[in-house]
């Protein structure tokens, strides 16, 4: 394994970083470039930018801000939001993004995964999965960008991640929905089940609230751990988090 990755996730709207309370009332919290640089300087290993309005507005994300980030950042970053075609993904990569993350469009048309992997390589194709536990099984949700549109995708999570990896997805970001924003820790059993189901890297998402939670996610086999609130609100400073994890024997880039 390479060093485990600490990955802040930033929500973007109209080219600005925003923070929402339960999907609504998004508050502008600042310039996208300033945030990107702050995280880079603090030692983030990678960044994810999610255009929260793109999918709901039926468009792909705006490549202007992708370009602005690419110009200043010298660590890898992924972008997400409304990418449903090969050409939209190409525009993101040409603008300087390292990876494109797709979620609902891949559920609508799984062939999209293979199209992107064939033209750009698996390492550029990230599958985002919103997963929840019900009746003793992990299930996929779709259109989670808005509470009104969210629905059961009719797929079992473990089947879906296996299929996506076979079609060429190079990484899975597993968002355990019941843990989203609650800061009680990543869903470890859920994460472990997905890690064991696929050969590609798995990024844990949803629930980070304390440094121990990151340690647990890595012990469950995650290659990276994604979080938003604890980094935005400076509840967990990244340098201290990395120091703690290294002291637990987890390899960190420092």
């Amino acid at each position: 394994m390479p060093a485990r990755r600490i990955i802040p996730c930033l929500d973007v709207k109209d080219g600005r970083v925003v923070k929402g309370i339960q999907f609504r009332d998004h508050r502008d919290v600042g310039d996208i470039v300033e945030h990107a640089l702050r995280y880079r300087d603090e030692g983030a290993d990678e960044l994810v930018f999610y255009d929260i309005a793109a999918s709901a507005e039926g468009r792909s994300l705006d490549t202007d801000w992708v370009r602005r980030i690419a110009r200043v950042i010298d660590i890898p970053f992924a972008v997400a939001g409304g990418v449903r075609t090969r050409d939209q993904a190409a525009a993101c990569l040409d603008s300087g993004a390292d990876k494109v993350s797709i979620n609902s469009p891949a559920l609508e048309r799984p062939g999209l995964i293979a199209e992107l992997a064939r033209d750009f390589g698996s390492q550029c194709v990230v599958l985002g999965v919103d997963s929840f536990e019900a009746d003793g099984a992990y299930r996929v949700k779709q259109y989670t960008g808005s509470p009104e549109a969210t629905r059961d995708a009719g797929r079992l999570t473990l089947d879906w991640v296996r299929e996506a990896a076979e079609r060429g997805a190079g990484e899975i970001v597993l968002n355990c929905m019941r843990r989203d924003g609650v800061r009680t820790g990543y869903d470890l059993a859920h994460t472990k089940a997905v890690v064991e189901a696929v050969d590609v890297p798995v990024i844990a998402s949803g629930g980070a609230g304390a440094p121990e939670h990151f340690r647990e996610a890595f012990e469950a086999g995650a290659s990276g751990a994604l979080a938003a609130t604890v980094f935005h609100d400076r509840i967990i400073p990244i340098p201290e988090l990395k120091e703690y994890l290294a002291s637990c024997g987890i390899e960190m880039r420092r």
């Binding site: 990755r5 110009r71 300087g96 390492q123 550029c124 050969d199």
Partner: protein, 193 residues
């Protein structure tokens, strides 16, 4: 200095160009043989599949142009793999500048494939701008065979050549443009080579 990035029709040329702009350069992206041949330094980028990239190089009539370059050339990621004889990826015949093959990485528990993330280097040569212990960013499913031209390597169950050097040819399996300060040191050393 005239720096030319070979247009192999793949994405991600953007971030390579930007990395060189940080050194005050204005890299030119070109698929034109004359422009490439007359450059002071040449970058062979590459993201995507070996078969597609070689096809693009052939369609543009650039195989001999690239093979006969005598100025410093840096192949990045897939661009480094293309310098070898063959790739297992779609059974592709590559440029054959370095003897050896490119093979698929095998996933094992704890070592998923793609090899994605920051791995530390073991550096065997001075003047690369890199030190042993530097972390650099990798994102690849295929890797070159260990060859005598290896001057820095990473470990991923097997030794992965991270930097190779042969005469005027350099290859980096990692992404210097996305490897923070260590990557910038490496690019600077290449520009000064």
């Amino acid at each position: 200095m005239k720096l030319v990035i070979v247009d192999v029709g793949c994405g991600n040329i953007g971030s390579v160009g930007i990395a060189f702009e940080r050194f005050g350069l204005s890299p030119v992206v070109s698929g034109d043989a004359e422009t490439i041949a007359s450059a002071d330094k040449v970058i062979l980028p590459g993201v995507g599949a070996a078969g597609y990239a070689m096809e693009q190089i052939r369609v543009r009539g650039l195989v001999d142009t690239i093979r006969t370059l005598t100025q410093p050339v840096l192949g990045i990621c897939l661009g480094m793999q293309l310098l070898f004889e063959r790739s297992e990826e779609e059974g592709t015949e590559c440029l054959g500048i370095v003897r050896g093959e490119v093979r698929r990485l095998e996933a094992t528990p704890g070592r998923p494939v793609p090899h994605m993330g920051w791995s530390s280097l073991s550096v065997e040569e001075e003047g690369l701008g890199l030190n042993s212990g530097d972390y650099v960013y990798f994102a690849h499913s295929f890797a070159c065979d260990p060859v005598p031209e290896t001057v820095a390597s990473a470990d991923y169950g097997r030794p992965i050549p991270a930097v190779i050097r042969k005469d005027n040819w350099f290859g980096a399996q990692f992404h210097p443009e996305r490897s923070g300060e260590a990557g910038a040191r490496f690019l600077k050393a290449f520009l000064e080579s």
